[in-house]
């Protein structure tokens, strides 16, 4: 078939062309975690379509005692960010126990004073959660927060570093399916994008003020990454950009959201229960606020320490 001239131009400009496989040195850098984010993206995306290189990469990783988790480092742009989310997403799509895990306090003396509370909520999981928190005097950060708070990337060539920016929510769990996103104001117009995996699930129009409420509502139980493009003339600046970590948030899953709603409805003034549940679900700020209110009402040291332990996550 004769190719139409316009098709020919398009295919030459956009068509595929085989390149060399990644070199051993590139594979080694990825395995060792020393590859820059572009090299890592190139190797990983190539391995996704080349079974030979995929097998080689996996074999070398296993041989070196590395895991694919090393790829959970900051990637400078959304596609790579999304790859991080996918890895983290796996962890969050797996079934998680509803019942809070009661940890044995092996290194602490058992409490001398018996605390008699939390036995009448009518839900065993709530009772156990509150009882455990009071017994231990502290609440551990749930694992999801580690996933949502990747470390800052160490740039190989730290030239001009972007100014510190504040993005909210970032590294936190939210209850709302339409969270309000806010960020440090900069000159220009803003376009916000929210990603679930590789898919952009929401984006704003061009905005003048540094805030946007996500629309349409986001499905629960998923981790999302979001970024802001700041358009100034021909240039586009991204928030966040290396070395700042990407901004992740997790929308509380249906089961825990229902639990929280029930607690608010049935025990709206029980700040201990609300604080413990928010903490269990990773909602640090609200948990700390609730627990502070409770501590003010119950000035025993143990109650105050709960709020402090959450505030220091």
């Amino acid at each position: 078939m004769r190719m139409m001239p316009d098709y020919d131009a398009i295919s030459r400009a956009l068509g595929g062309e085989l390149e060399d496989h990644p070199t051993y040195e590139m594979l080694e850098q990825v395995v060792d975690g020393s590859a820059d984010d572009v090299t890592r993206e190139i190797v990983e995306s190539h391995a996704a379509v080349c079974s030979t290189c995929d097998a080689e990469l996996r074999d070398l990783m296993a041989f070196a005692g590395r895991t694919q988790r090393s790829s959970l480092r900051w990637l400078a742009a959304a596609a790579a960010v999304i790859a991080v989310i996918l890895t983290g997403g796996y962890l969050w799509m797996r079934p998680r126990p509803v019942e809070p895990v009661v940890r044995a306090s092996t290194h602490q003396q058992p409490p001398k004073r018996v605390v008699v509370v939390a036995s009448g909520y009518g839900r065993e999981d709530w009772d156990a959660a509150v009882r455990d928190a009071l017994a231990r005097g502290t609440i551990d950060a749930p694992p999801i927060l580690r996933e949502l708070r990747p470390p800052r990337e160490v740039l190989r060539n730290p030239g001009s570093r972007p100014a510190t920016v504040v993005m909210n929510p970032a590294g936190m769990v939210v209850d709302s399916t339409t969270p309000l996103l806010t960020w440090s104001a900069r000159p220009g117009r803003y376009v916000v994008s929210v990603y679930d995996g590789f898919e952009r699930v929401a984006h704003s129009a061009a905005l003048r003020s540094p805030e946007w409420r996500v629309s349409p509502p986001l499905p629960r139980g998923r981790t999302y990454a979001w970024q802001v493009e700041i358009h100034r003339g021909d240039s586009v600046e991204l928030l966040s950009a290396p070395p700042a970590p990407p901004a992740f948030f997790y929308v509380l899953d249906e089961k825990n959201a229902s639990s929280l709603a029930e607690a608010r409805r049935r025990f709206p003034t029980d700040h201990l229960l609300l604080g413990v549940l928010h903490a269990r679900f990773g909602m640090q700020q609200t948990a700390a606020e609730e627990l502070r209110i409770h501590a003010a009402q119950h000035p025993e040291a143990r109650h105050a320490s709960l709020a402090d332990s959450v505030a220091h996550w």
Partner: protein, 299 residues
């Protein structure tokens, strides 16, 4: 020898007079232990030539410095590709050996003037404490030490891998009966794009590219006249402006305005993606390579 290849140098002369002898030397050196079909050398030679011509025509790449060294490197990579097709286990074993050599202080590697790598033990065997601390690596390192300690001379890397393969039975030493170059090649999908339907299929793959690869490809895509081809995509009905907006991460209403600014120079793309110009080029190549492999699978 380091020499920059100027554009007025005759490509034919370059390939015939200077590239062919290097290719033949590397093939002879690396494949001398192979049971090689007669036509395999010709196939390797032809494949290297194809890659060289492509590289010489590539206006994006920096000039080649050290032409003979470059040809030797390309030839070695073609041979590596053949080995991968012939014996993926051997290729993986070689990676493992290289990894141990580079991460274990007991070993020493020397790159010879002709690019070959020889392996030996450090003069002071316990010098340094770096090890690859897995059982598999420990076992491999012990085998390597045994071979290197009792060998008559320092083996070349491929020889060491062959010896380990023979001892452990992890992989067969390289044997070939031909037609393996073909296994390393795939049809150039660019030549397969011949209709709106196949362009549509190509676009669906472009949309699936990782973000930076997609933008590195699209923002710079231009026709022979230097104009962006993205407008053509919409004009030909291959993609809707909505799809284009999504791929470029724009609002649909902004597409027309944005198209007027395209194609972008690599430096501008680099700036917006927070990478270097060379990384933009690498991302675009990775995008094209991924498209080639995906489109080949579709066929």
């Amino acid at each position: 020898m380091t020499q920059t290849i100027s554009s007025d140098y005759s490509a034919d002369t370059l390939l015939v007079d200077r590239a062919l002898p290097v290719i033949d030397t590397v093939v002879r050196r690396r494949c001398r232990h192979w049971k090689m079909a007669n036509d395999l050398r010709d196939d390797v030679r032809a494949e290297v030539m194809v890659r060289l011509v492509k590289r010489l025509r590539d206006s994006e790449s920096a000039p080649i410095g050290g032409f003979e060294e470059y040809v030797a490197g390309v030839t070695s990579r073609v041979i590596d590709d053949v080995i991968r097709a012939l014996s993926p286990e051997w290729a993986r074993l070689k990676h493992r050996v290289r990894y141990v050599l580079g991460h274990d202080d007991r070993f020493r590697v020397v790159t010879l003037a002709d690019g070959r790598v020889s392996c030996s033990l450090q003069a002071v065997p316990l010098l340094g404490q770096r090890r690859v601390r897995t059982h598999a690596a420990d076992a491999l390192a012990r085998t390597m030490i045994d071979i290197l300690r009792h060998g008559e001379r320092e083996p070349l890397l491929d020889e060491l891998v062959n010896e380990i393969a023979a001892r452990t039975g992890v992989a067969e030493p390289i044997r070939t009966s031909g037609e393996h170059i073909a296994a390393t090649r795939m049809p150039d999908p660019g030549a397969l794009v011949e209709s709106a339907q196949s362009l549509r299929s190509l676009w669906s793959e472009i949309a699936e590219l990782p973000r930076r690869q997609r933008l590195a490809l699209l923002l710079n895509a231009r026709d022979a006249a230097g104009d962006s081809v993205l407008r053509l995509l919409v004009a030909e009905g291959i993609v809707s402006s909505c799809e284009l907006a999504s791929a470029l991460e724009l609002r649909e209403a902004d597409v027309d305005l944005f198209l007027g600014r395209l194609p972008l120079m690599d430096l501008a793309i680099a700036d917006s993606l927070h990478v270097t110009r060379q990384q933009v080029i690498n991302l675009r190549r990775a995008a094209r390579d991924r498209l080639a492999r995906r489109m080949a699978r579709k066929r």
